[in-house]
Structures are given as C-alpha cells and as structure tokens.
Amino acid sequence: MSDTGENYTTFNSRTLVEIVGDVTDEALKATKIKQLLSVLAGRFFNWAGRKSLFTLHLGIKCCAIEMAASATPRFDGDRFGVLFRSSPRQSDVLLVNGPISKKFADPIVRLWEQMPEPKYCIAMGECAISGGPYYQSYNILEGVDTVIPVDVYIPGCPPRPEALIDGFGKLREKIIRIGGAPSTGRDGDKPIIVGED
C-alpha cells in the first residue's frame, strides 16, 4: 500500500502509447516507409504551405495602403492565395508595413508570438527595414529585425504592390528551400531582399 503511485505509473496509458509509438516508429524506419511518407507528404505539405499564405491584417503606416492595394483588381494578390485574416492565430505571415515605435515594439512581438508555427515575417518598406526616413527619430526602432526575425525584405517607400506580390513569391521560393521549418531554426538561412537578384 505504500507505493500506490508506483503501481499506478507502471501501467500508465502514456507509457503504453510511448512504447507502441516507439515500436511503430522503429518498424516504419526499418522498412523505410517513414522515409517514403515523409518525402512524398513533405512535398505535398510544402506545396500547401507555400500556396496558402494567410497574412495578418495589420496596417501600420503608408505601406498598409499598398498592402490593401495589392488585394485590388489591378494587382489581385488573391490570385496567389494571399488572404488577409484579422486574427494572428490564423495567419502565416506577419507583414510589417511601417515603422515600429517604442510603444508598438511590445505589441508586435506579442502578435508574432501569437502566430502558430510555421510562420514567416516580411518587412515591407524602408521603415520596417531600417527606420527609413525616421531613422533619426527618438521614438522609432531601426527596423523590425531588431525585435523579430525577418524572412523577406521588400525595399521601397512604399514598395509598389507588384513588389509586395513579388515578395510573397520570394517567400515561396524560400519555403521550397527551407520547408515548414520553425522560425527559430532558420539561423543559417539568409533573409531575402526583393530586387537583389
């Protein structure tokens, strides 16, 4: 009676799941089924991830208007699966389109952390890249990359909507290469700058 806890943990369902899981895993590895599935499914999921980039509907400054313009008939980002969702939980891309003030540094980090992995960050416009015309200001950070990691930089003040759509294209190229890697594990991968090829 003294060690009921031990008895309890011996035939724990969690352990059972782990054992069964491990055995299955080993079996799959040995028969190379796992390899087969991961390569094939990986290509499919990679395709899905890059074709459907839901962007957080976050308008900071000038570039937000160009972001809106990229969804309009002339540019039509919806052709490439770029949709705008208002909730960070349902978004894949954080499109930073303006200067980050000291007051907004905390909220933007929070928005970034609320997004589920795999997630990507695009710095749109000079302000988000380096502070832009406000680099001398007392209240503006020198680029959003001082607080969150950035995957694609789109220069311009503001960039044209075509450049934004091209930036999404560049992000897709990057996703092909890195897959759906978590944003913390992309250290070796250099950010992409639109127009620098």
């Binding site: 003030s101 000291k102 007051k103 540094a105 680099y135 001398q136 200001s137 007392y138 209240n139 950070l141 020198e142 001082t146 607080v147």
Partner: protein, 217 residues
Amino acid sequence: MGTTVTKEQNSAAAKAVVDNLSKRFSDAGITTEAVAHAAGKKFEFVRIICAPEQWRAVAKHLKNEIGVNHCAMVTGTHYPSGGDDRGWEVAYHMHRWPIQDVEAHTMIVHKGENLEGDDIPMEFEIFIPLAAGDSPSVPSVQDLWVGADWNEKETWDLVGIDFEGHENMHRVLNPHDSPVGFHPLQRQHKIRYHDFNEMYDDPQGFDRKPVDEGRVK
C-alpha cells in the same frame, strides 16, 4: 466660386477685432495687431501677445465677445538662448468661423460676401512668452475649448510646458513609461545621428550606433 470671403471684409473684420481687443485690454500691456500673411491671398489675421497671467482673461473675452469657436493648435517652443523672459513660448492658433447648429432637415449655406460682424472668418495667433526656467507653465483653456484638451496634452508631452488647471494630463504620443521629465522637443535633446560628419565618414553605417543604444527595445 462665389462663397469666398473677400479681402475687404477680412481686413475690416481684423481691424474691428483689434479695436475691440485693444479697447478692452488697453491698460493690461497686451499687444494686439492685425498682420497680413506674406504669401497666398495676403489675408490678415490677428496676432495677440500676452503674458501668462492675462491669458485666461483674454481667452474668455475671445470666446465670449469675439466668437472664437475653434482652437486649432497649441505649439510650445523652447528657446534655450532666448533670454530670461522668453525661455519658452506657447502659441495658440484659433479660428472664428460662422458655424451654428441647424434644425433637422435644414442646412445653412453661408456666402462669404453676405457675412458681417462676428460671422466673418478670422484667424488668431496668440503668443504667450514664458520666463526661462525648468518648469514653464501656462493657464489651461481646456474648459473653454474642448479642442484645446488634447492639444495641450500633446504640448506637455512633447515640449514639457505645464498647463495649470488641465485635468487628466497624461502622455498621448510618447510611451507611458517614458522617463519623467523626458520631453523630446526640448532643444537639449538631440536626434539620433545628429552629427552628420559621422555619416560621411562611414556612409555604409557599419560602425554607426544609435545614441540611445541599449535603451531601445
């Protein structure tokens, strides 16, 4: 096309306001003059220079007798080298417009040349020089014009000029956790990279560090 106020109306109205003000405040040492803009249509506006002690009285007179109904902007300026009696200055810019409430299903369409007296639109520029010192202060006109409320908050936030009697003063543009006494538009605060030579020496900016490095984030 035809609604515009004419220049004659404008100068007559400016003269009337100046007469009114100088009659009312003749012995208070308040300067009142009608000044013409240097460009554009060269319309005249009324410039008042008064001491902070008289400001409430002037403001009440402006609001009640002259009909100034719109406080456009409040500007605080810091003059570190301005001398003892003009270390700071507050400039109020106000408008008088012929605007009143209407009944339902009606509207009022003014025509410039039909206006007369207090209805003629007019700009006002009130300078209040303040003595040099660490705690400049001006009486607030928050209760007279609601529009002055956030303008004064902003002036305190950015320039550090205190408004006596202003209720609920708080920072509006700078973060709430800014250091006490940090008012960025005071002249002793320099912008980042204010020394331009540094930029020419290092155009790529490799060695450049922001002045407030370490405090950002």
